[in-house]
């Protein structure tokens, strides 16, 4: 080899030392081959003069720059090394890895699952093009503010809508619809359909195209034209097996033939139809049978009603909902200001009907999600607490491991690893751990969602859209990185603050922990216990409230009770309602229709008793009327209190087992020509006659504007819960004989299983009535159960969370104490040798754990006391600082932490003094 060649080679060889090792061989060969080739070529052409040699040398200098610019690759190199090493380290410590990864998986998985729910329910925009500009406009009673929402909203009167439409400048378009309601089909299989009447432009305003056929066109609005209907995709698929021939077919709705003109796509849902007037509550007792989604849309024929102008008599409120699309650039606030001005003008022109009647504009997305927003966000907070607990768990495990690894790290540091390098190594391990946890968490989240989805109450909007999608994956990824920093930074930082001489000098077992590290670990355990305490208290409160509401007596006996809604043979209309007293036709209906039916049902074998009610306890009020009550001065002198009322037949209270507290039950003397006799509930009597005897009091009922009906209280009955999750409200009853009649519920008490009686009951009713019944008979117990779906859902979620938190906290305490006992083996050995008994050793070990747990519980109780007021929305009839709930949670936590302390303490007792001292 010639000297020049040798020079080049060694020069390249020298520079190659700067190249990252992974790339070095290739790099070197490339440069050598290139230089050698050039050299050979020059030699062959006989041009290897010194100038050309110098040129080659100059070129080889470029290799230096090349090598320098490859430096960033060195990082990747080390990263791979860190990963490999970290992986091996995790595999070596299987138990540690398993516990840590599972902790993280629980935290990350639960949070991913709840994120998916929150995301699809709250965060994602509504599935209409340009949904951010959609608003709902309501009329609002300005003088009555609703305690829940701030506005007391009412339906929009058509006349006002017309004014808004012609005078407002904020909107591209305004559309009308009625909240979804129940429509009869007369079919045996599905007696009801959920339907909504909509104005022609509603679909186009939402940007929704039919999947089949058409939506509505102007002719459809005219009363004389053919009746048409548009079907929802689900209903079409179920009833017509998704046949395209369905369009053009006839369907009977409310006894009228309708022609199907179109089918909406599966993606179209009228989310706005729910919300403000929540159907599940309005049609509470129908919930068992009636579908919750809108199945049919009918055109709103408003031409004939356009005549009702502002002299609309007693009809202060309308029946419509207004949906509108704001013009680009117009904010809801501007629209609100405009509508306030407009309604003020209208009120000035028509003070009779419109005084104090305003308008309120709401962003549609907030409207749809509004009722669940707070609860969802609270759930998300609760879930993130669990993640924090999991992170604290892993962090304290890692801190403990840092002690074990101190020697290894010290050696690496002595061999030249910098502080940053060690930190990076440890964080890489954490990232691996978090990645493992995140992967497992994702699986867990998938499982949880499958478990949760059927439990989600139907009235949480868009619950069916909950999936684990790319957004959720992204969220998990972010969460994984975040948790790595959360649990990894502190232990890594602690572990790399090494005192090299100390670590290496100590030749024996190096398991002593620095005071600082121990303090950190104790702080972590304390915070874990504190967070768990908060979660447990929250869950305890919700559980208490649940039992208080659903576990207690509703005020009547639901057992073996069957309910069936039956239509009145004559249409119930405004005239009947405002008349308020029965006329000859009503009396005839009672005698010839309702009474014979009741008699027939009573005679059925297996039936012990039966009665009628206009409403039904769980359904809430049948109707509401204003009442002038002597001695009661309302806050707003113009507005008398609004009282819920119900029409019940004479045996109603006996049938339900509702106690008569004062006065008398309805009797034969309460005839149409007799003075109106009413019975009030206990709350009514307590609220309006706190000092006086309620029986015998006379008051005035205002069923409509300027319409009066004097009445006398003849009795007081015990409270019956109308709405399970709200306090009992004042309520009054009157008899059918003194009321205009309408659809009624038939209530039947059976001797045996109600299910066996359904068919004969239906036959009996059918033979007595020429009309189809409004629905199938239902056992009241079933309705009752359906009412608990939502609170059970929240309770299950919170309870599950609290259990997870408890598990994690117990693991944390167990681990900490286990380590402490391990570290003190030597000390315990000496104590034993000096005569310490089992009991002494046990107490020694337990003391530390119990002290930590008690500190954590103290802080947690304080935190819970401050924080539980935020879950007030979930609590009924229970204060957020309810003592039994706090006590229960504390007791449970104390029990679990004691159990977690006990195992390590037992281990301490088993320490053999001889062996532990020998070890040294």
């Amino acid at each position: 080899m010639r000297p020049f060649d040798y020079l080049l080679r060694s020069f390249i060889g020298f520079i190659s030392l700067a190249v990252p090792r992974r790339l070095r061989a290739d790099w070197r060969q490339e440069w050598e081959a290139e230089l050698r080739c050039r050299e050979l070529m020059l030699a062959e052409w006989d041009k290897l003069r010194w100038t050309n040699k110098l040129e080659l040398l100059r070129r080889s200098l470029g290799a230096f720059w090349d090598a320098l610019l490859l430096q960033p690759r060195r990082w990747e190199d080390e990263m791979m090394q860190d990963l490999r090493y970290g992986f091996r380290a995790l595999r070596r410590r299987k138990a540690f890895t398993l516990v840590a990864a599972l902790s993280l998986a629980i935290g990350i998985g639960a949070n991913t699952a709840i994120f998916s729910v929150v995301d699809s329910v709250l965060l994602r925009p509504l599935p209409y093009p340009g949904a951010e500009r959609l608003v709902r406009i309501n009329a609002a009673e300005l003088k009555q503010r609703d305690q829940w929402e701030g506005w007391n909203r009412v339906g929009v009167p058509l006349a006002d809508f017309r004014q808004w439409q012609s005078q407002s400048r904020s909107y591209e378009e305004l559309a009308l619809y009625t909240g979804s309601g129940v429509y009869k089909t007369g079919e045996e299989e599905r007696p009801y359909l959920m339907g909504s009447r909509v104005s022609l432009n509603l679909f186009s305003m939402l940007g929704a195209e039919p999947a089949l056929g058409r939506t509505f066109k102007p002719e459809d609005e005219k009363p004389e034209s053919e009746r048409v209907v548009v079907l929802s995709h689900d209903f079409w698929a179920e009833r017509y097996q998704a046949s395209p021939n369905a369009v053009g077919q006839q369907i009977t709705i409310n006894d009228q033939p309708h022609t199907i003109v179109g089918v909406m796509p599966a993606s179209f849902r009228d989310y706005f139809a729910r919300g403000f007037w929540d159907n599940s509550e309005r049609f509470g007792s129908l919930q068992v049978q009636a579908p919750t989604r809108t199945q049919i849309w009918l055109p709103l024929s408003i031409t004939h009603e356009a005549a009702t102008w502002h002299g609309r008599g007693g009809n202060r409120h309308g029946t419509y909902q207004v949906l509108a699309r704001l013009k680009p650039g117009v904010t809801p606030q501007q629209a609100q200001a405009e509508i306030s001005g407009l309604t003020a003008q209208i009120a000035e022109r028509f003070p009779e009907s419109n005084h104090d009647l305003g308008g309120a504009v709401f962003n549609l997305h907030e409207e749809v999600t509004g009722s669940s927003r707070r609860k969802m966000l609270l759930l998300a907070v609760a879930f993130s607490l669990v993640l924090l607990i999991a992170c604290a768990n892993v962090a304290s495990l890692l801190l403990a491991r840092g002690i074990e690894r101190a020697k290894e790290l010290a050696i690496r540091a002595t061999l030249g690893a910098g502080h940053g390098r060690l930190l990076r190594q440890l964080l890489t391990e954490c990232l691996l751990l978090a990645g493992l946890g995140g992967g497992l968490g994702l699986l867990l989240a998938y499982g949880m969602l499958i478990g949760i989805r059927p439990l989600i109450p139907a009235d949480i909007p868009r619950a069916d859209a909950v999936t684990l999608d790319s957004r959720a994956l992204l969220f998990t990824l972010g969460l994984t990185v975040l948790t790595t920093l959360l649990f990894g930074l502190l232990p890594a930082w602690q572990a790399t603050r090494l005192n090299l001489t100390e670590e290496l000098k100590d030749a024996g077992r190096s398991v002593t922990e620095s005071r600082r590290s121990r303090r950190w670990r104790h702080a972590l355990v304390v915070s874990q216990v504190a967070l768990t305490m908060i979660l447990l208290t929250g869950a305890g409160l919700v559980a208490r409230s649940f039992w208080r509401v659903y576990g207690t007596d509703p005020g009547y006996d639901t057992n073996k009770l069957v309910r069936m809604r039956i239509a009145s043979p004559r249409a119930f209309n405004r005239e009947r309602y405002l008349r308020f007293a029965p006329n000859a036709e009503d009396a005839a209906e009672l005698d010839q229709y309702w009474q014979p039916m009741l008699a027939r049902v009573r005679n059925l074998p297996g039936v012990t008793d039966a009665a009628f009610a206009g409403s039904y306890p769980l359904q809430g009020a049948n109707f509401s009327v204003h009442m002038r009550i002597p001695g009661h001065v309302p806050a707003n002198p113009k507005l008398q209190p609004l009282i819920h009322g119900d029409i019940v037949s004479r045996d109603y209270f006996r049938l339900l087992g509702v106690k008569l507290l004062q006065g008398r039950d309805f009797n034969d003397g309460d005839r149409p020509d007799a003075p109106l006799a009413i019975i009030v509930n206990e709350t009514f009597a307590r609220t309006y006659f706190p000092q006086k005897q309620a029986v015998g009091q006379k008051l005035t009922i205002h069923p409509g504007f300027k319409i009066e009906a004097p009445a006398t209280i003849v009795g007081v009955v015990a409270d019956v819960r109308a709405r399970l999750d709200r306090p009992v409200e004042p309520l009054y009853y009157q008899t059918p004989a003194q009321s205009p009649l309408r659809s009624m519920s038939l209530l039947v008490r059976t001797t045996g299983d109600p299910a066996a009686l359904m068919a004969s009951l239906r036959d009996a009713v059918r033979s007595a009535s020429p009309l189809p019944s409004l629905d199938k008979p239902v056992a009241v117990n079933k309705i009752w159960a359906s009412f608990t779906v939502k609170p059970r859902f929240y309770l299950a979620l919170l309870g599950g969370l609290a259990a997870l938190a408890l598990l994690l906290a117990a693991t944390g305490i167990y681990g900490t104490l286990f380590l402490a006992v391990n570290q003190r083996t030597h000390e315990i050995g000496i104590r034993r040798a000096l005569g310490a008994q089992d009991r002494d050793v046990l107490l020694l070990a337990l003391r530390q754990g119990v002290l930590l747990a008690l500190t954590g519980m103290g802080i947690g109780l304080l935190g819970a006391w401050v924080l539980t007021r935020f879950i007030r929305a979930w609590l009924v009839e229970i204060s957020p600082t309810d003592l039994p709930a706090f006590a229960m949670a504390s007791a449970l936590l104390l029990l679990v932490t004691l159990a977690a302390c006990f195992a390590p303490a037992r281990r301490a007792v088993k320490v053999d003094p001889l062996r532990s001292l020998h070890h040294e």
Binding site: L40, K47, R59, G62, W65
Partner: protein
């Protein structure tokens, strides 16, 4: 390396590759760029997947008693990037070296 940020020297190198100059030293020859520019640029281009490298067949290297050389080729992305660059750098057309007609390069100072 973003697709739209091709430096002029990188474009010139792509151009050279397109014209059939495959080895680092040959590229230096035709472009006149120093080795400290050409090699780092090649590595970056390779990382951006505009260029891929292969080792020469062993037989050829053995015949000439030297280690196998590494040669570079344009990828489809690289070709597209070059087209793009040609639009941006109008001087590139003029900077175009003659097509390589022989596999062996001319001497650097010949």
């Amino acid at each position: 390396m973003g697709k739209n940020y091709l430096s002029f020297s990188a474009a010139v190198i792509l151009q050279a590759l397109d014209n059939g100059y495959q080895y680092g030293f040959d590229i230096m020859d035709v472009t006149g760029l120093p080795s400290g520019t050409v090699y780092p640029a090649l590595r970056r281009l390779e990382e951006a997947l505009y260029v891929k490298s292969k080792w020469e067949k062993h037989a050829i290297a053995q015949e000439e008693a030297r280690p196998p050389r590494k040669y570079y080729e344009l990828t489809r992305d690289g070709r597209e990037a070059l087209e793009e660059a040609r639009k941006r750098y109008r001087l590139l057309e003029q900077a175009q070296p003659p097509k390589a007609t022989e596999t062996k390069p001319k001497s650097s100072r010949a």
